[in-house]
Assembly symmetry: C2
Homo-oligomer: 192 residues x 2
DNA sequence: CCTTTCGCATACCGTCAGTACGCGAAAGCT
DNA sequence: AGCTTTCGCGTACTGACGGTATGCGAAAGG
């Protein structure tokens, strides 16, 4: 195996195993020794690829955010109508957030580990950007009233994040439908 | 000084200093040695009063939540009309969340330190309960449509938490007014 | 075939949360 | 008052953690 291949494989294994452990136990409860044991390497390898525990977490977070962003964008783009794209994207975000990786890594640990400011910047670049773009286009198209977009994005993004976490612990499968209905009603209020 | 007085004073000093440090640096970046130094005691005293670092944080969080709950309830109760109570309470929550203690301790660190489940239970008992009660009363009174309350509470609670954090880093003072306006529009959609 | 590169292992360090135990002063008891 | 018990807290220690310095051995380059 060539050196480049070996390097890539080690890096991918570290990302995979750390993501698994972070998801299962949370950032604080996972030691570097557990990660390198699971990956079959040593701390030397880890520090050769990443600047430390937080940097490793950052790389894992980037993966998760990229996956969520792709899923949301794909679902939204399937709708021809601009308004339907917004609704479909929001529903897709709720669905994607059912993934335990998303919940623990992206919604719970990330703000505390990276600080809220950095988390917000990454969230903006990944998923919230789609929401921001959609709302801007809808305003340009005259579908919803002209108003500041930034506060709306934060309100809606926060609502969806929190609802997603709540749905994770919910026993009643009807809760997802109820939440989507309530969220849709909130969105509809923008069209009024 | 009597033993009871001494005990009480040590406990209060520990709570005060740890709250100050947690707010300034965040839970993870504060060591127990810093806390006991600031309080003028030793780790023996800390472990005599609390079961550990997480338990100390829990006690601090309870303080913060209680303060926020009181402020929100007081503002809401000043309104005679049931609907105005809801709006006033939500606005009061946004205002109260401008406090750095609330942001760092209650909104950022608490979910990661205690886990989201415990955080949610405490949040429910403290501040979200008021929101839940208000919505239930409004449904009983026929002011808003009959619908599941729990998803609404999570959506609105999450929206306000996130908006509060965003407002904290906002430079434009008009953002608060814009956010309150957007939030009010969301609430109005319930009356439709 | 010799040299350089570099991916990674080994061994170590400072700091942290948490624990075991002892002291000394206040509180109860006769 | 004196004697004992209680208990608030200090002291001294431990294991585990994140992080660093350094060395080795195989692949790449000439």
């Amino acid at each position: 195996m060539s050196r480049a291949e070996q390097r890539e494989q080690t890096r991918r294994t570290l990302l995979r195993e750390s993501r698994r452990l972070f998801t299962a136990k949370g950032y604080g409860a996972v030691g570097l020794s557990q990660i390198v044991n699971a990956a079959g390497v040593t701390k030397g390898a880890l520090y050769h690829h990443f600047d430390g525990k937080a940097a490793l977490f950052r790389a894992v977070l980037a993966q998760v955010q990229e996956e969520v962003g792709r899923r949301v964008a794909a679902t939204a783009d399937a709708e021809p109508d601009l308004w339907d794209q917004l609704v479909a994207g929001c529903h897709a975000f709720l669905t994607a957030s059912a993934d335990p990786d998303v919940q623990r890594i992206m919604l719970i640990d990330a703000p505390a580990v990276l600080g809220w400011n950095e988390w917000r910047a990454l969230d903006e670049a990944a998923s919230a950007r789609h929401l921001s773009d959609a709302l801007t286009h809808l305003i340009e198209a005259g579908v919803i009233a002209r108003q500041p977009v930034a506060p709306l994005v934060r309100l809606l993004s926060g609502a969806m994040n929190e609802a997603a976490l709540w749905l994770a612990t919910s026993a009643d499968p009807g809760d997802l439908a109820d939440t989507k209905a309530a969220l849709t009603r909130m969105l509809e209020s923008l069209r009024g």
